[in-house]
Symmetry: C2
């Protein structure tokens, strides 16, 4: 069965996001009334798995092994079936 996993990887609360801060400054410089900018990353992963639970488990393993740094990142996983 084919699944699409959407993974959100973002910095934990309280950690400085230099990219967001830089974007905020640039927007303020362009006269936009912006109070805060936070940037984060999304991944769409197409994978094969036995069922939805298995897919979620696999993607969680991917996050732990490669995609996210558990010291600084939180991640959220959404699984969607692509098969009929």
């Amino acid at each position: 069965m084919k699944y699409k996993a959407t993974v959100v990887i973002r910095l934990k609360k309280g950690l400085l996001n230099p990219e967001g801060k830089a974007i905020k400054k640039a927007l303020n410089f362009l006269n936009f009334d912006v109070e805060d900018v936070d940037s984060y990353k999304m991944l769409d992963i197409i994978l094969n798995a036995e069922n939805e639970e298995d897919a979620k488990k696999k993607v969680e393993e991917m996050c732990k092994k490669l995609l996210a740094n558990p010291v600084i990142h939180n991640y959220y996983i959404k699984i969607e079936s692509l098969s009929q």
Copy 2:
């Protein structure tokens, strides 16, 4: 009024996403049965605007002027009110 804009910035269809390809290769190397990986960027922007329409117009202008490259990127904007 305060609004939160969530902006999705992703490469147009058909354009090569080297980051996604690199992640896919790394996952395959770790024995994950992954068929495709697409990566993209999200921004949460807290801004002041008169109403929802005004907020959307402002964020669209930000995208055009700074956040996205119209030649290679598509962007989607969702506006959410933070005021009561």
